[in-house]
């Protein structure tokens, strides 16, 4: 019902030569998580992982992914967020 754009994801992973990818999903799309991971594992060499909990918006990106050597994070259900300088 919602477009997961799996072809685009596969393209981006290959284009960026990403080795480790993290998928972050809002609650409504979490039930589709296996489809996304299965597609990445089938069509690319990358290892793919899931963020377990909250994904309130594009303002809510996990920190410290460098420690795990995550090359690419793909957040679903949101688009780019423009943080204001002041509140």
């Amino acid at each position: 019902m919602y477009s997961l754009e799996l072809d685009k994801i596969i393209y981006e992973i290959k284009e960026r030569k990403a080795k480790q990818v993290l998928i972050q999903l809002p609650d409504g799309l979490k039930k589709e998580a296996n489809k996304i991971i299965d597609s990445i594992e089938k069509n690319t060499e990358a290892k793919a992982f899931l963020w377990l909990t909250d994904c309130f918006g594009a303002c809510d990106l996990p920190l410290g992914l460098d420690i795990l050597k995550i090359d690419l994070m793909i957040q679903f259900g949101h688009n780019r967020y423009w943080k204001t300088k002041e509140w």
């Binding site: 019902m1 919602y2 909250d54 918006g57 303002c59 990106l61 994070m73």
Partner: protein
């Protein structure tokens, strides 16, 4: 460094002017609409065309933090969150999407207005119209006014800062601490990732709190805690903020 990309996850159905929605607009003699949608439902060109064909003006603006005009985020909760005053200038507000989180922001953005225009919610999946009116935010407004009063008289303030990059206002929090301490209040800054308000009870010496992260913490979550908490935007002039809400019961 980790690269980031976003996938809109657009709804794959067609969004058009269904009879139910058309009948509602006719029945209520609506001549102009402020149109908003969440990103999944933002392909609304056909809908706009069909609404315009009914001689209804469609007003569109861009909210400050969004990427696209017409898109609404949960944090667009202030009157000045939008480039254009379409909420004031339209007969009604139409939100296309599902869930209450985003359209509720459109009510919160009007709380300083004498009249809060209801939001017509059109869910293209269930094809259901719902009217979201000020009743849904009444308890929050009441609590916010109480919190402002308690903040004004509090001598010890806790300032909450998140490390989430999109919501991090650490520098502003430090400036606020200085500002408050010039007014003979003592302020402490608390830092975390997710701001779980259950932890506030561990600091009984704090008499009132200021949230510097997502504004919805200061509007939605305050009804679930007993400690007074206000948002950063009101912390520099809580008296003015209270005066602006004084007429609202």
């Amino acid at each position: 460094m980790t690269e980031i990309i976003f996938i809109d996850a657009k709804w794959e159905g067609e969004i058009k002017l269904e009879k139910k929605l058309e009948d509602y607009l006719n029945k209520n003699k609506i001549k102009s609409l402020a149109l908003f949608a969440s990103v999944q439902f933002s392909d609304v060109n056909n809908l706009i065309k069909e609404i315009k064909n009914k001689n209804i003006k469609v007003n569109i603006t861009k909210a400050k933090r969004t990427s696209k005009p017409m898109q609404i985020l949960g944090c667009d909760t202030y009157h000045d969150s939008f480039d254009l005053p379409v909420l004031d200038e339209s007969d009604a507000i139409l939100y296309v999407g599902d869930g209450y989180f985003h359209p509720k922001a459109l009510l919160l953005a009007q709380i300083k207005n004498k009249k809060i225009k209801p939001v017509i919610m059109w869910n293209p999946i269930s094809k259901v119209i719902q009217i979201l009116d000020e009743k849904i935010i009444q308890e929050q407004i009441k609590r916010y006014k109480r919190n402002l009063k308690m903040f004004i008289s509090a001598d010890t303030i806790g300032i909450l800062v998140t490390i989430k990059p999109g919501q991090n206002y650490f520098q502003t929090a430090k400036r606020l601490k200085e500002f408050l301490e010039k007014q003979d209040k003592k302020a402490y800054i608390f830092i975390d990732n997710n701001l779980d308000l259950r932890h506030l009870e561990n600091y009984p010496f704090i008499k009132a709190w200021v949230n510097t992260a997502c504004p919805r913490i200061g509007t939605d979550d305050i009804v679930n805690i007993k400690q007074p908490l206000i948002n950063l935007k009101e912390a520099s002039n809580p008296v003015k903020a209270l005066e602006e809400l004084e007429f609202r019961n």
